[in-house]
């Protein structure tokens, strides 16, 4: 019963995914024409960065079962690497983005080799410790590496970070409309990331993870090597996360240790959790909801972080599968209600048993 239903629902959801994507592309193209507030567009760009990072964390945790808390560290690594290449070697930002992302991949593979043979919470604690170490080493870096004018500059940029190392070139080409240009670039980055994520989830490796999750013993017996598969996904996700870090540094023309703070990591996790861990559209839904909530709470100013913390805890308790999961439950419930009327009792009972 369930096996005969599954292919149907997959093709159904694929069609739905395509429709949602087309609608989103339409909305993304229309947005700059509808919004002329620079502030709003700027927040949208920031939200797209959040959605990109959250989608990659979701790929790790939701789909591959890697509970990594080094997501912002990898993002920062990509950003720092890009900024440092530009700063120290005078490269163009566009040329530095790819090496920056590769540096993030190398970093992630080292982290992965140290962590991924372990299970669940050990991975979480170790990646958290690694991220925290990176933060501490950058912030406490006071040794002069080069002198810029009369100012001492540390190798890692210290507590200040890096600024004025170049930008995406949109200011030169588009003048006053540079933000629209950056918006287009970051939106494209997000789209490419989502497409890549989709391909990974639907690929044999994505199926292997599904098997590992549903029945670890069986999957291992069938020759799925958990460690190698996780390391691979860890590296792929680090590429897009690091690339996003590079674009982030280039967009803001600055990068500092602040993005490594616990509250930034929490915001990413909150996005994934509220949207729905392990659902494809969860990170996007979560970003929209949380960025909107964040804007509303800006009015409440100081209660922002408090509210965010409570939102995380409550959504885990009240809707473990997030908003997207809840929506799925609702759709299934409606479908069953409308479908059950015409069918025989037997069919209905097998359908509920298969849930």
């Amino acid at each position: 019963m369930t096996t005969s239903l599954r292919p149907m629902s997959v093709s159904g959801s694929a069609r739905l995914d395509l429709l949602v994507s087309l609608a989103l592309v339409g909305a993304a193209v229309a947005l700059p024409f509808m919004v002329d507030s620079r502030y709003v567009l700027g927040q949208v760009v920031l939200a797209l960065f959040y959605a990109t990072i959250a989608s990659q964390w979701n790929l790790l945790f939701g789909f591959s079962g890697i509970f990594s808390l080094a997501q912002m560290a990898i993002f920062a690594f990509g950003g720092y690497a890009t900024a440092m290449i530009c700063f120290y070697f005078g490269w163009n930002v566009w040329a530095a983005l790819f090496p920056g992302a590769l540096a993030a991949v190398v970093f992630s593979l080292i982290v992965g080799l140290a962590c991924l043979r372990l299970t669940g919470v050990y991975v979480a604690l170790l990646t958290l410790a690694i991220a925290q170490t990176m933060y501490l080493l950058i912030v406490t870096d006071t040794e002069c590496f080069v002198m810029v004018g009369s100012i001492c500059r540390q190798l890692t940029g210290g507590a200040v970070g890096f600024a004025r190392f170049g930008d995406l070139g949109t200011r030169e080409f588009l003048k006053g409309q540079w933000l629209v240009g950056n918006y287009a670039i970051v939106a494209t980055l997000f789209a490419v990331t989502m497409i890549a994520t989709y391909i990974i989830v639907k690929s044999p490796i994505g199926l292997a993870f599904k098997a590992l999750k549903d029945n670890p013993g069986y999957a291992v017996a069938r020759g799925v090597n958990r460690f190698q598969a996780q390391l691979l996904v860890f590296g792929i996700s680090a590429f897009f996360t690091g690339l996003a870090g590079g674009f982030y540094a280039a967009h803001f023309q600055a990068i500092g240790p602040g993005i490594l703070s616990m509250s930034q990591l929490m915001f990413i996790i909150a996005i994934a959790v509220v949207g729905g861990v392990g659902t494809f559209w969860g990170p996007l839904v979560g970003t929209i909801v949380l960025v909107a909530a964040d804007e509303l709470m800006r009015e409440a100013g100081e209660f922002r972080t408090l509210g965010l913390g409570l939102i995380i805890a409550l959504s885990i308790v009240l809707m473990p599968k997030g908003l997207v999961g809840r929506l799925g439950d609702l759709v299934r419930w409606l479908r069953r209600r409308s479908g059950a009327a015409g069918r025989s009792k037997l069919r209905e009972s097998t359908a509920t048993a298969g849930e």
């Binding site: 079962g65 050990y122 616990m262 408090l306 913390g309």
Partner: protein, 295 residues
């Protein structure tokens, strides 16, 4: 040279005692219910501020402030169970582990921020502390450090006694060792979880007073000891109480030496290096039970 060495050892032992107290609270909760309490740091901070409010703001004697810290931590632990943990227990093991971690991170951030909003971000002085020191020849023993070590040892003995000798303690250990069997014996596992979180909260409260008496009160007070305590729990193998205490003292001494020899900023990285080295060598920690903790 000798006085430098002794001061390093004294500093190491004192922070070791503090870490040990934090690890016991964390390890107890992990061992009995498979829960990593990321809100432990905020519960620590809460204890520190509770003692401050009672002693400094209300002018009550230090003992009342201390009891207030214990009570505040215990209540926070109890509420954490009632509102969060209880509702996540029907998840399967792996989902519970990650969900409870995320949820407690949220609670921790909310609690830390509530403290920030109530007391402000400026550092405050913890009134419950001892001044002066005992001088034996070249050795200078601050009373505060001695007090911390003595209180921690006393508390640890108390916890050990509770776990080893009492009916509640035996039920906690039974639940940790085999949850289903404990249920079959008539142990109400949910009540045990509640008790464990209350106990761990009370320990966090004391720990908060102690930590803040060494430094100062500030809302992120608990974060650094908690992260280090986690590292120590992992080095020992999560859920192993005596191992965690040993690791706490060992690593705190190491940290003190590294900080003296290479500078303060290398203290935490050296701990990270040790934990990675240990986990590569023994994936379930030094004293961990590999067959139980690994999948």
């Amino acid at each position: 040279m000798l006085d430098i060495l002794t001061s390093i050892i004294i500093a190491g032992l004192t922070t070791g005692a503090l870490y040990a107290l934090a690890t016991v609270g964390l390890s107890l909760v992990w061992g009995s219910m498979g829960m990593l309490n990321m809100a432990h740091a905020a519960m620590l901070t809460l204890g520190g501020y509770a003692a401050f409010s009672l002693s400094s703001a209300l002018g009550l004697p230090a003992v009342v402030g201390f009891a207030g810290a214990v009570l505040a931590g215990a209540i926070a632990g109890g509420l954490l169970y009632v509102f969060i943990v209880r509702n996540l227990l029907n998840n399967d093991k792996a989902t519970f582990e990650s969900n409870v971690m995320i949820a407690t991170v949220g609670i921790g951030i909310a609690l830390e921020n509530a403290i920030l909003l109530t007391f402000g971000g400026q550092p405050l002085k913890q009134p419950i502390s001892a001044t002066g020191s005992l001088i034996i020849g070249p050795v200078n023993l601050p009373y505060q450090n001695m007090l911390i070590v003595i209180v921690v040892i006393a508390l640890m003995a108390l916890v050990a006694l509770l776990l080893a000798r009492t009916r509640i303690g035996r039920a906690i250990r039974a639940t940790a060792q085999n949850r289903e069997a404990a249920q079959l014996m008539g142990v109400a596992v949910n009540r045990v979880y509640f008790q464990v979180l209350v106990l761990s909260g009370a320990l966090a409260g004391v720990c908060g007073v102690m930590v803040s008496s060494m430094t100062q009160l500030s809302p992120p007070l608990g974060n650094d000891p908690m992260l280090k305590a986690f590292i120590m729990c992992v080095v020992a193998g999560l859920g192993n109480l005596p191992g965690a205490v040993a690791a706490a003292f060992g690593l705190a001494l190491l940290e003190a030496f590294v900080q003296y020899a290479a500078g303060a900023r290398w203290g935490f990285p050296s701990l990270l290096f040790v934990v990675i080295a240990v986990l590569i060598w023994r994936p379930a920690g030094l004293f961990g039970r590999a067959q139980i903790r690994r999948m």
